[in-house]
Amino acid sequence: MESGEEAWRQRAARRAASALPEVWSLLDGISDPEIPVVSLWDLGILQDVCKEGDTLVVTITPTYCGCPAMTEIEQDIERKLKQAGHEPLRIETRLSPPWSTDMMSPEARQALEGYGIAPPCSACTAGGGQPACPHCGSQETRPVSEFGSTACKALWQCDACQEPFDYFKPI
């Protein structure tokens, strides 16, 4: 998943070099509607913020093709920025490079775990172990279903504490 890590580095570099740090900070206040503990930035949805003439352009990328939260996310960004007087404003959706869980920030992984969602484990997909239970930390876990309550999650269960949990699918 090198392309994902590379995309994360590029994304972090874009933010570091941005002439609009206050806009990025404002957007840090918007979280994913389905996972309120993770911001759009941490999740990797927020890709870029720049100015084209007078227009502020915010670029986002969808996690999944059919993610129903994208419309709400766009509305949240628009509301937040307009309230702070950032107009004119345009929100662009970019598909390439495709979103990957490797684009997530280290903070996102911690926040997910604290919220009861096992963070994505790329090694697990290749057969290298199981995601640890976010409740008790046991590795004695098993998949219940490849698909969970949202497109980005799978259903797992812990055989140690018996609790079911959501697992953020690595893609």
Binding site: Y64, C65, L95, E146
Partner: protein
Amino acid sequence: MKDTERKQATLEYAQRLGDDAVVLGHRLSEWCSNAPFLEEDLALANTALDFIGRARMYYSYAAELADDGRDEDDFAYLRDQREYRNLLLLELPRGDFAYSMARQFLADVYNLLFLERLMQSSDERLAAIAAKAIKESRYHLRRSRDWMLRLGDGTEESHARLQRAIDDLWGFTHELFEIDALEQALVEQGVAVDTPALRDAWLEQVEQTLAEATLERPADDWAVKGGREGYHTEYLGHLLTEMQALHRAYPGCDW
């Protein structure tokens, strides 16, 4: 090929791929609240969403290329069945669970092979959509293949139902590997996928899974085709009637 011709052909191609995605997505969505158990209900609804999202991406691109004021909704909701160019396999009724899983498996194997090639398209937008969609299709195939093994190598009843489904679907798979003049011209431009070239790899994977699932590979003694020309089974019209009813009754409806 002139730029204008290429643009028009790419528009039609994107529309075909959108038709494939929306029709299969709708069929999958019909399982919502009807699946055998809750986890499967969620999985089918999630998969349906992936395909509907894919359709939106293809249609949005087609709408941009058309540049005539139409948007993705016009493509999905305001075209009649003769204007739809989806593959027939994808429009067949959902049938029982075995039938839906068999269709899904045949389509998923195809989709992975197809998207791997489309990622290499000289058309950047199509390549970007493919790069996004292929990640989802890998999950789809893992699951549908798993069900093939569980049902095929399961009980007498599940085996019989899955074999019947494969037999009934097989004749519709030949169309996946047909190509017409429009796609051939786009293949030469590096835009479209040369689908006849996918058949050997598809067959190899499908035959391997069928054998593992203790299922018979049907004979190639019948074939139904015509989706890419707009000739459909009797089922598509009914699907569109349901899918388009709201939009046609309340054009531009927003809530």
